[in-house]
């Protein structure tokens, strides 16, 4: 399983040599590698699907599609994970104080 996890996606290839929409590329990043490959093999259907997705997107998103603040950054799923104490502690190492506090905390 370790080996499987190490199978990294090829971003350069997905971005430049596939017909997937940006949203499809990103949604496949969380799924197993297989899904991505399937979609790649099936270029013809992928394109049709994507136009359907656009038609169904709600009007506010369509209206303001070109925006620099990504609304998903404020989704309840993204924000609520920071209510969790372990989650808050997990990024301590990214702060200067985290460097030496790290070891102590691991023992607690």
């Amino acid at each position: 399983t370790v080996k499987h996890r190490r199978t990294r996606r090829d971003w350069t290839k997905d971005i430049y040599s596939s017909d997937l929409t940006p949203e499809q590329i990103l949604s496949s990043s969380s799924k197993p590698q297989q899904d991505g490959n399937e979609a790649l093999d099936d270029d013809f259907f992928t394109v049709k699907q994507s136009s359907k997705i656009y038609a169904n997107t709600d009007s506010d998103l369509l209206e303001f599609a070109d925006r620099s603040k990504d609304p998903s950054a404020f989704s309840s799923a993204e924000l609520s994970k920071w209510e969790d104490e372990e989650m808050l502690e997990s990024i301590r190492g990214l702060f200067i104080t985290g460097a030496f506090v790290d070891g102590e905390l691991a023992d607690e």
Binding site: P22, E63, A65, L88
Partner: protein, 364 residues
């Protein structure tokens, strides 16, 4: 001028495509602009953006179809100079300023642009964030002396406007090659709690709520209270919290939340603070809101390999990478930043600069 025409369909990614067209000198044609919509065609803010681009340049030809569902832009030169533009109230000043920031360094004369409208909304970077976070990103590329954003009056979305900013940008001959790969550690956090025409206590309540999360990490946290009154407050009420985190290597992460009807100041503060933690946790040297700006300047850099460590691309960034290739023929190499760390998700973006030289520049 019969050159190549780059074609797209749909209204998404309009701003960065127009910017790429003007910088590359290639004409752009976009059709299918909300053509299936009940109310088809360009919106008022998009037409206003086209007018602004016309003002910033000289010799640009813009044709809009009768239905407004198709446009053709043949770029002229970026002329700059003193300019004034009134933005419609449907979008904040940030919507208009972000593309101008990408163009201004390559202007004939330094841009001195006054924009009037809304300084903060839910869709684009606020004037404050552009001043404190976006402009320092330009300094990475050697664009610094005389770079300034003055916020004269603040005002909010759902308002009657009344905000005003002035953007001053120096011109450069060429931008420097970027090599930004050390994220460092977060050493300080700064923030501004704005209260405009509301109970001044609101800003203190936001600061307290934000500190309840942030105090655990580092001691160097200053959250200022900024209460606007009277003439300088624009015309409408609201409150917001803008926060930024800076690392030991000058990496800047930022976030911002603004008041909504029925949401308490504490909840707005928690939204901004948690969203800042999300940005920090994604890693890299540039936050997701600034990926496109960095990638663009890397492409325009001198003929050398530019490198930047950043978080995973947003949908907009992926499209931007594809569009860059359409206009400049440049592709990026994108690989895991730290192949020895299997859980790390940040990536190393590198490309060979096009050696773009500002040919518009006044030599006088």
């Amino acid at each position: 001028m019969a050159g190549p025409v780059v074609q797209y369909s749909g209204h998404k990614y309009l701003r960065h495509r127009l910017v790429l067209s003007i910088l590359s000198g290639k004409a752009i044609k976009i059709d299918g602009i909300r053509s299936d919509d009940k109310n088809p065609g360009l919106r008022d803010f998009e037409v206003s953006l086209l007018r602004l681009l016309e003002k910033v340049t000289n010799g640009t030809v813009i044709e809009i179809s009768v239905t407004g569902t198709a446009i053709l832009l043949k770029p002229g030169i970026i002329s700059g100079g003193p300019l004034v533009h009134d933005c419609p109230l449907s979008r904040s000043i940030g919507y208009f300023l972000e593309p101008i920031i990408m163009l201004a360094p390559f202007s004939k004369r330094p841009v001195q642009l006054t924009l009037r409208g809304i300084t903060t909304d839910d869709h684009d970077l606020s004037a404050d964030l552009i001043r404190t976070v976006t402009l320092p990103h330009l300094q990475l590329f050697g664009i610094s002396d005389g770079l300034e954003l003055r916020v004269h009056k603040e005002t909010w979305s759902t308002s009657r406007g009344g905000g005003e900013i002035q953007f001053l940008c120096p011109i450069v001959k060429q931008v420097k090659t970027l090599n930004f790969v050390e994220p460092g550690k977060i050493k300080r956090i700064r923030g501004i709690a704005h209260a405009v025409r509301v109970n001044p206590q609101f800003s203190n309540r936001m600061i307290e709520a934000s500190r309840s999360i942030l105090n655990r990490y580092i001691p160097d946290i200053y959250l200022y209270s900024d209460v606007y009154k009277g003439e300088e407050s624009g015309k409408s009420p609201g409150y917001a919290l803008t926060i930024l985190a800076e690392s030991t290597t000058s990496v800047l992460f930022c976030s911002e939340a603004i008041s909504k009807p029925g949401v308490a100041p504490e909840d707005i503060a928690l939204q901004a603070t948690r969203s800042l933690l999300s940005e920090i946790s994604k890693g890299g040297c540039v936050d997701q809101k600034h990926q496109s700006l960095i990638l663009l300047m890397m492409v325009l850099g001198s003929e050398d390999v530019g490198r930047c460590r950043m978080s995973q691309p947003t949908p907009g960034t992926i499209q931007f990478l594809r569009d860059i290739r359409d206009f400049f023929g440049t592709s990026f190499k994108i690989v895991p930043a730290d192949p020895t760390e299997p859980n790390a998700t940040d990536l190393l973006y590198s490309c060979y600069g096009t050696g773009h030289v500002n040919a518009n520049r006044d030599l006088a």
